[in-house]
Symmetry: D3
Subunit: 225 residues, 6 copies
């Protein structure tokens, strides 16, 4: 994989695991020092779910619950920035304008969510589009896209490559279990209109990310625009 | 229709018509003076299309083209604010936070688009959700939602009432011509999760809006959450 | 206690306890509806400690660790705002200027930390001073100020009333165990120079806060300027 | 003309002409790639006049009308930025501080108007002064400064060079038709006190601008401080 | 004089006089409590001149020197706000947008300069225009407008009333000594186009201001639009 | 002394002396051109005291008085920036975030105070910590730290080196006259936790600063973390 800029979406699940997180931090640091340019987008994980559940029990409305998820994703972004403060832009951007300004400083930009009603995957694709970045790596809670839920369906087929158009059709017919959480139609629409390739990889093994970045070997799913 | 707060989405087409616009301005002024509380969201219309086309000819990318549409919608919002400066918040908000702050001043808030990849209808629903508003009036370029494109299909049926769930199904089967432009799945998702009723009315006759607001008589389509 | 405005500092420990938090939320809501005017300042609690520890393990510096604590306190503030969105200022202020602007809207203002090197107790006193508020209630992780650590020293004396000057002397001679965490010299200095009375109460029993606010009965410690 | 930084004021009329605009965009791109450093300031043109007229018909006051002109000039700036997104600062600055910050990024800065009561020519000179730029090129709707209106007076003399002091005298005696629109006394005062030379050239022929920038050949008027 | 809103420009000279300033502060406080609505704009005075002279000796350019004058005028505004903190908006606005937002809070707004190349008299008129205020009181370093400099010309005539058009003519023929400092052509242009009446009074006797505000008796010059 | 980045705190007294200031400006310019990287923090001096006294006479509260001191320190920062505009970041940052952004531009950053209740020495240490700077030079109104006040006590001992721990003990026993003004416990706490060495030198002789910076020769006091 060439050293062109990319966007790296990190699943919030990474932040639930105190041992896994440092490995990814080291990997990002190593890549950056080797000249890779990237924007990192962090998810909220189980902490986001806890705060959202707490908010829901106290009758917070949907917009407020989304704000809680965004706040947690920003907290995670701040943790990454703290651990990478020699290379990172410390202040976490909260919209595309701020990402753009941070990007121009040449620092590693780390961001969380932007606004209610929007997944962090969508944020990663909006950022890619805005900065003219053509590759987005989705370090997800699953290791690939499947034709159906592998935990239920023994015939579920793992996809090593799929086009956005095919994926949209599969989403419509609801046969791709769990993919809705991974990439919503809006996120896919952004990728499609701006020709962004999405690499889905699991977030449990840093080596998977390393092999993708260094050798261009995908062990998950490539979603082509 | 009770005097509870609502969000009023004005099609950009209104701003192409120098005679129609003042009627709507007067209507908004009259309603405001009569105690109606509302947030107005303006579209871009044909001027947005002209700038987008110009940008496309000069090879601007999709995010930049969306920024042009947003800029035009804000220009239209500024025009409304200029004409209503005795009751309006003069500075055009550019995100939910700013809308919230403007709303707290008790002034009439007028806004345009927020960010790339997002329709002004979605903006209107996000604003409604954020402020706890339960009714959104969509003054659209069409006079109602149809089962198919009435300009093509003589059997097209005009819908006076439809649920979001039904509408989403129709969108999936692609039988509702032109509705995609009116309300995308994301916008509908926001309305659904937050229980917002959408009133689609045409933007060619101010009287249609007046009857809806004063007597609660819908001459277009009511989309129920 | 008269209905003059006050600042309410909530220990981060409240946010570790899913059952206790809603009681305090209800109490704040009830007080607000009864005409009490207040600013709420939230701490970080055990979640802040977890993120700070994680950051420290990844070699983040002291300023960055403080930023993590601030981020968690803001997340907690956002949770409160979500649960109180009918009366609260939704956007969490991040400095005195923003607190001032939020305060002028007449909404319940909720804030977390401001900047590195500064406790949230100091934030609560700076906010009090800036807005001309003369009473600060510190809902703390301890139920009162003691002359020494009651968990260690059987002769520890519980103070029902103490002046700031006396407390500063005690802090110097290091005989007041744990009080440093409660109120640092800088926080006390602000209270002293601006004549702010601090009411320390435990954060485990909402009734303690209720009795203080309604009847002016202090069950903890009153620190007089 | 040496490759020292300059400010380029583009008449709003350029944006009325879909064929002329791309030529100027290409020219700016080419110059930038060849190492010329510049700030571009865009006017509002006939679109600004249309919105101002619309606003006036709806009784908007003078400050609001100026805001409409500013909004259009920013829309034009956004269009330029969209077409030049590989070299431009995407977010349009709205005051001197923001121009300064954008300038420090090394990107091509494009701006429109700043505040009511101020022409975009004045903006261009304030920007020049603030950044220490000593040359301002005014791509205007006229091809030069004349002693009187050439469309009316057959004896009108075209000036190839004039000092600001002389021009101010001519403005006072009202003999320079149309120049008021070109450069108001305030704009001239800024140029004078900071020693900025103004090159007036017509905006109908890109080649005129090219010859000025490459060979330093002025085909319009040089206004010396 | 009716209790309609007005803008009060205070000469920077007031801030050079430690005894005079408190009288004006008391007067403003008294008027505000009696229901007068106003925006106060402060000048820089001799402190501004000292800093500008210091800057000039260290070779600062004109824009930077103006920034120094603006900083001093804001310091003076902050002093007024400090002395009037029970009624004033504490944060000093730095542009029209911020003045507008501060104005909506119902607090007394106090501001200094805005940007280089602009007098605080111009600021006062821009603010008036933006907020729809029709009266501006200029508490100046002179007690009225004269036909020539009374310190030099024994035939200098004191004007009790003059139109903006007449004043502009007098400025052109340079017969009104010192008036340039008082009101530049740009400031007069704003007043003229928006129909703002300017009351020039001396800033040495608070009683002059009191009589003007309470009884509408002008002891200086009324400049009519 | 190696050319590692440092923070330079300039006593406000420098700005009371029109002859001394230019020497320091020249020194900073010379150092910068020779590759020294620094952030300058300016104090308020006697002008701050004058405005604070004026405010106090008009009954301003403590927070407002601190805001006046901060405003003066920013005015002084603006003066420095004006005199150093070829190398300086012109806009004066008002918090750590803004300092960080300014620092990333590679320009000389100059700042004054941040918020009430905080000395500019504390600001200098917070900035150092945030940017990872390990040396802070305090150009103070005294030439060194003494064991007691040398103006009173003939046995006062001048300290050429002292640890923060020792200094804190001395502050507690109140034997170090005037040092409280120099470095408060909070400032020392920041230096201690982040390992920042403080060099106290007098601000009356630029040569003292020069020798420290070029040869690493301290003629004042070195405070070690």
């Amino acid at each position: 994989m060439l050293k062109e800029p990319f966007t790296l979406k990190l699943s919030g699940h990474l932040f639930d695991n105190d041992n896994l997180l440092p490995s990814y931090v080291n990997l990002i640091h190593e890549f950056w020092k080797n000249g890779y340019k990237m924007v990192v987008v962090t998810g909220g994980g189980s902490l986001a779910r806890r705060y959202i559940e707490l908010g829901r029990r106290m009758n917070a409305n949907e917009a407020m619950l989304d704000l809680l998820g965004i706040s947690v994703s920003r907290l995670n972004a701040q943790l990454l920035a703290a651990a990478l403060s020699d290379i990172a832009y410390i202040t976490i951007p909260t919209n595309l304008d701020e990402v753009f300004r941070a990007w121009l400083t040449g620092k590693l930009v780390i961001t969380g969510g932007f606004q209610p009603g929007q997944s962090t995957a969508t944020v990663a694709l909006l950022v890619s589009e805005f900065l003219g970045i053509k590759k987005m790596i989705d370090c997800a809670n699953v290791d690939a896209v499947y034709t159906s839920d592998p935990r239920i369906d023994p015939n579920a087929k793992r996809l090593s490559k799929v086009s956005i158009a095919e994926l949209k059709d599969m989403l419509k017919s609801k046969t791709v279990a769990g993919t809705y959480d991974l990439l919503d139609p809006w996120a896919l629409g952004i990728a499609q209109r701006s020709g962004i390739t999405i690499f889905v990889v699991g977030c449990n093994k840093p080596e998977t990310l390393r092999r993708l970045m260094i050798n261009g070997i995908s062990e998950g799913t490539i979603i082509t625009p």
